[in-house]
C-alpha cells in the first residue's frame, strides 16, 4: 500500500506538466499525419541508383549488440557491423579468429547491449578514423576501424556495473570515458543489498586511445559515490580538459528505483577535471588496486584476435584529490548532458523536470575559484545552483532526454513523453520550433552535432516505439527513425525508416572523410596467419594428435584441396581457409554439413578457421556460400570421415 502512495505525487506531477506544457487541441492532435509534407521531400532524400549518400550514419543496434551503417539522406542500410553479439552471417564469434573478441573476465559472452556510437575526433572534429561503442551489460568498449568497418578492439571495464555513460570522447580522442550506470560494491563482494548506501561505488573510467594505432588502455578510474552515472560528454574548446557526467539516484535507493531514485528535486552533473587527474597520476597520488578485465585486439595482418588479461587498475579517490570533481545541482534525474559547440554551455536534460537547466562553464570556474559551495557529498564540493546556471529553457516539453547542436547556435532537444523534437536558441533560451516524432524519441543525432564543428543539415530522431509507422509485422517491429531537414527556420520531416534492434544513439560523418580510406581487400602478401596457405602448392592436411589441420584455399571457382580423407570420428578438424582472391568484393564462404558452427565468410586475402567435430562416419559435402562466380554452384567438395578408433591415412587432392 505504501508503494502506491508513493506513485501519487509523480502522477500528479506528470499531469500538471501535461496541463501546462502539452500540445493544445483535442484528439485530432494525435491523428497520423497524411501526405501534408512539403511536396519535394522525396526529391531531397532520393539518391539516384549508383549515386552515393552524403553522410555515413552509424546507428547503434541497442539490444542487438551491433552497429548499423546507413546512408543519409536516403536511409539505406549499408552494412551491419557485428560488435558485441555473435553474427553467424560473418562468422563473428564463430570462427577461431574472432572468438577471442568476445572474451571477458566472465568467459565468452555472445551478446551485449550497444548504446552509444562515438566517432573519433581531432581538434573537436570527427576525423573518420574509428568509431567507438559501449557494451552496456558486461561493461565494455569496442573500437571499430573505419577502414575495414570491422570491430578491431574490445576492452572490458572493471569495477563497473552497467557501462552506459560511455564511450564519449575528448576533443582529440585523448580518452573515451566510461561511467557506470549501476553502482556496485567496491571492492566487489558478497554483502547485503540493503547496505547499498555508502558501500556501493560508481567508477568513472578514462580509457586512453593511442593517437597512432587507436590502441585502448585503462588510464585511470575515479571512484565516485554510489549514484547512477547516466550519460556524459567531455568539454570542448574552453572546457577541453573537463568531462560532465549526469547522475540519478543520488538518493542511493536500492529497490523500486522508479520511485526511490526520483525523490530529489535536483540530482547532480559531476564535472571532472581530467587534466587535474593526469597531474595526480603523475604525482603518484593514486591507488593501484586489483581488477579483473580483458583487452581483446584484432591483428589485421594475421586476421586473428587475441585476448589479454589485466589484473590491476589505477584509482583516484575524489576525497584525496581536491579539485578533481565538483557537483553541479541539476533538476531532476538529468539524462543526457550535452556541451554546445563553443564549450561554454552544459545542457542538463532533466528528464523529470518541467524546465531545462543550462549551466555555464565560465560561471562554474568562477564558482570553483570563489568556493561558492552548497555543502558537499562524500567529500565532493556541491556548487551553488544559482551560481553555475546560465539559463533555463522554460516549459519546452515533457521528458527531455538529449540535445544536439547545429553550427548556427541552435540546440535541438528530444522529449520522450511528449514525443517531439524542440529547437531552441542557445543563449536566449527561446523556443523556435517543435516537430512531432513517431513515437517517443530517445536520442537524436545531427552529423557532428556533439562536436565542435557540427556538419548540420539533417537531424535523425531515434524512436522507442513504432506502432503504426510501417506494415505491421506481428508484436515486434523494428524501431523507427525519422530524418528531418534542419537547414531552414522550421524543421521538416523528410523520411521515416526502420532500423535494426534499438537505434539507441547514432553518429554521422560526411562521406568524404571515410570513403577514400575504405579498404577493398587484404593483401595476400601481408597475411601472417599461422595457418595460411598463400597458393595451392601450400595446401595440405596435418595431424597433431586428435587435431587435424586443413590448409585450404579458395579461388573462383574451387577449393584446394576439395577431396579430403583421413579424418575420423573423435577428431577435431580445423578448416583453415585462405581466400586467394585479390579483387574487391570477392569473398568466398565455407559451409560443412552438420557443423555445429556457422559458415565462414572469408574476405580476399584473409584466412579464417572453422572448427568442426565430425560426429558420424561417412562422406560429407562442403560448399561455398557466397555466390562468387558463374561456377559458384560447382564450388564444392567432400570430406570423408572414418570410424572412431580407425587409423586412416591423411589424403588430400584436387583434380586427381
Amino acid at each position: 500500500m505504501k508503494k502506491h502512495n508513493l506513485f501519487l505525487p509523480v502522477i500528479a506531477a506528470l499531469m500538471l506538466m501535461v496541463s501546462c506544457g502539452g500540445p493544445q487541441g483535442g484528439a485530432e492532435t494525435f491523428k497520423k499525419p497524411g501526405g501534408a509534407l512539403s511536396s519535394n521531400a522525396a526529391e531531397r532524400v532520393y539518391v539516384a541508383p549508383g549515386e552515393y549518400d552524403e553522410f555515413y550514419a552509424f546507428l547503434s543496434g541497442g539490444f542487438s549488440g551491433q552497429l548499423a551503417v546507413y546512408g543519409l539522406p536516403s536511409g539505406r542500410l549499408l552494412k551491419v557491423i557485428p560488435v558485441f553479439s555473435v553474427d553467424a552471417e560473418k562468422a563473428y564469434g564463430f570462427n577461431e579468429e574472432t572468438k577471442p573478441m568476445l572474451e571477458t573476465s566472465f568467459g565468452f559472452v555472445p551478446w551485449d547491449d550497444s548504446h552509444h556510437p562515438e566517432l573519433s575526433q581531432t581538434d573537436g572534429t570527427t576525423d573518420g578514423r574509428w568509431i567507438f561503442i559501449n557494451g552496456n551489460n558486461t561493461p565494455r568498449i569496442a573500437r571499430i576501424s573505419l577502414e575495414t568497418f570491422e570491430t578491431v578492439e574490445i576492452i572490458e571495464i572493471p569495477n563497473s556495473g552497467g557501462n552506459h555513460s560511455s564511450p564519449f570522447t575528448t576533443e582529440n580522442t585523448e580518452y573515451v570515458v566510461a561511467g557506470t550506470r549501476f553502482a556496485v560494491p567496491n571492492p566487489q563482494r558478497d554483502m547485503p543489498i540493503n547496505e547499498y548506501k555508502g558501500n556501493f561505488k560508481g567508477a568513472l573510467t578514462y580509457i586512453s586511445v593511442d593517437p597512432e594505432d587507436g590502441d585502448m588502455e585503462i588510464a585511470f578510474q575515479i571512484l565516485m559515490p554510489g549514484f547512477d552515472y547516466d550519460l556524459s560528454h567531455s568539454g570542448k574548446g574552453k572546457s577541453h580538459g573537463w568531462t560532465f557526467f549526469t547522475t540519478y539516484n543520488t538518493e542511493e535507493a536500492h529497490t523500486l528505483m522508479e520511485i526511490g531514485a526520483s525523490q530529489r528535486d535536483k540530482d547532480f552533473i559531476a564535472a571532472v577535471n581530467w587534466k587535474k587527474a593526469e597531474e595526480y597520476l603523475a604525482a603518484g597520488n593514486f591507488k593501484e588496486v586489483p581488477a579483473n578485465y580483458v583487452n581483446n585486439e584484432l591483428d589485421e595482418d594475421s586476421h586473428t584476435a587475441t585476448s589479454t588479461k589485466h589484473t590491476t587498475v589505477k584509482v583516484l579517490i575524489p576525497e584525496d584529490c581536491p579539485g578533481l570533481v565538483y557537483f553541479l545541482p541539476t533538476p531532476k534525474s538529468p539524462h543526457g548532458v550535452d556541451v554546445d559547440p563553443t564549450g561554454e554551455y552544459i545542457v542538463g536534460n532533466g528528464k523529470l523536470s518541467a524546465d531545462m537547466s543550462v549551466h555555464s562553464f565560465t560561471k562554474m570556474l568562477n564558482a570553483i575559484e570563489n568556493e561558492l559551495y552548497d555543502g558537499e557529498a562524500y567529500g565532493i564540493p556541491i556548487l551553488k545552483y544559482d551560481e553555475v546556471l546560465a539559463g533555463i529553457v522554460t516549459e519546452p516539453g515533457l521528458g527531455p532526454l538529449h540535445t544536439e547542436f547545429d553550427a548556427f547556435g541552435n540546440a535541438y532537444t528530444t522529449f520522450f513523453i511528449s514525443s517531439e523534437v524542440v529547437k531552441w536558441k542557445v543563449g536566449t533560451w527561446e523556443i523556435l520550433d517543435r516537430v512531432p516524432t513517431y513515437y517517443s524519441v530517445g536520442h537524436l543525432m545531427i552529423p557532428g552535432g556533439d562536436s565542435k564543428h557540427p556538419d548540420g543539415k539533417y537531424l535523425v530522431a531515434m524512436n522507442k516505439i513504432t506502432k503504426d509507422r510501417y506494415l505491421p509485422t506481428g508484436p515486434e517491429m523494428n524501431h523507427s527513425a525519422q530524418l528531418y531537414d534542419i537547414t531552414g527556420d522550421k524543421m521538416e520531416l523528410l523520411l521515416d525508416f526502420p532500423t535494426i534492434g534499438e537505434p539507441h544513439y547514432a553518429q554521422a560523418i560526411p562521406a568524404d572523410r571515410v570513403m577514400q580510406h575504405s579498404k577493398k581487400f587484404y593483401k595476400l602478401d601481408e597475411n601472417t596467419h599461422p595457418y595460411k596457405a598463400l597458393n595451392e602448392n601450400e595446401t595440405r592436411m596435418e595431424r597433431d594428435g586428435n587435431d587435424v589441420h586443413i590448409y585450404m584455399t579458395t579461388i573462383r571457382s574451387h577449393f584446394a584441396p576439395d577431396n579430403l580423407q583421413g579424418v575420423k570420428v573423435g577428431d577435431v578438424v580445423y578448416f583453415h581457409v585462405t581466400n586467394l582472391e585479390q579483387d574487391w568484393d570477392v569473398p568466398h564462404g565455407l559451409a560443412v554439413m552438420g557443423a555445429r558452427n556457422s559458415e565462414l565468410l572469408i574476405m580476399p586475402g584473409q584466412t579464417e578457421t572453422m572448427k568442426w567435430i565430425p560426429q558420424r562416419e561417412g562422406v560429407y559435402p562442403f560448399y561455398c556460400t557466397d555466390f562468387c562466380s558463374a561456377l559458384h554452384q560447382e564450388m564444392q567438395g567432400y570430406i570423408r570421415v572414418a570410424p572412431k578408433g580407425s587409423n586412416p591415412e591423411l589424403k588430400w587432392s584436387l583434380n586427381e
Binding site: Q582, S629, A630
Partner: protein, 184 residues
C-alpha cells in the same frame, strides 16, 4: 658536334624510356568491371599482378591458358635488344655517316614490325588455344584481343592500345630519321 650526331645520341638514349612506361595496354570491360581490368605490357614485365590474376581467373572459364610472364621469353630477351639498339645507335653517331643512320633506322623499324607481329602471335595463341576441359565452350568463339582498337569477346569488351612506352620506341625513329636527313 653536328646536329645529326646529337640527334642520333638523343634518340639512342630516349630508347631507355621504354623501361619507364608500359608499351601496350589491354583492358577488359564487363558489367562487373565498369572501370575495366587493365593489363600493362612492358618491355620486360606485365603489370599489375592483381589485374592479371583476375584476368586469368576469368579466362580459365573459357579454357584460355594462364598468362604467366615467366613463360613469355620475349620479356627476358627484349631488354637486351633495347640495350643493343642503343649501343648500335651510339656507334652510328660515332661513325656519323648517312648510310649508317639509315641502316639503324631500318633495323629499328623492322624490329618494331617484328615486335608487333610477335604480339599478334601471342594474342592469337591465347585466343585460340583453348582447353578441351573448359567449363564454358562457345562453338566458333575465339578470344583473341584486338591488335589495336576495341572488340567484343563474349560478355567482355576488350580494348588494346599503345601506351606511353611505345612513344620511346617511336621517338628514336624520328631522331634517327632527322639524323639521316640533316647529315650531308
Amino acid at each position: 658536334m653536328t646536329k645529326s650526331r646529337i640527334s642520333m645520341i638523343l634518340g639512342s638514349i630516349l630508347l631507355f624510356g621504354v623501361f619507364l612506361f608500359p608499351i601496350w595496354r589491354i583492358t577488359l570491360y564487363a558489367p562487373q568491371y565498369p572501370s575495366g581490368l587493365s593489363m600493362d605490357i612492358w618491355v620486360n614485365k606485365i603489370t599489375d599482378e592483381n589485374a592479371m590474376k583476375n584476368i586469368n581467373i576469368l579466362n580459365h572459364y573459357v579454357g584460355m591458358k594462364m598468362i604467366e610472364p615467366d613463360s613469355i621469353p620475349e620479356l627476358t630477351y627484349f631488354p637486351y635488344i633495347i640495350f643493343a639498339l642503343a649501343a648500335l645507335g651510339i656507334i652510328a653517331a660515332f661513325i656519323d655517316r648517312k648510310k649508317v643512320y639509315l641502316s639503324w633506322l631500318a633495323i629499328i623499324v623492322v624490329l618494331g614490325i617484328l615486335g608487333i607481329y610477335d604480339f599478334y602471335l601471342w594474342e592469337y595463341d591465347y585466343g585460340h588455344d583453348l582447353s578441351d576441359m573448359a567449363p564454358i565452350k562457345v562453338p566458333g568463339q575465339a578470344y583473341q584481343p584486338p591488335l589495336i582498337g576495341g572488340k567484343w569477346l563474349l560478355n567482355f569488351y576488350a580494348t588494346s592500345y599503345p601506351n606511353l612506352g611505345a612513344m620511346f620506341f617511336a621517338l628514336p625513329m624520328l631522331f634517327a630519321g632527322f639524323a639521316f636527313w640533316t647529315k650531308k
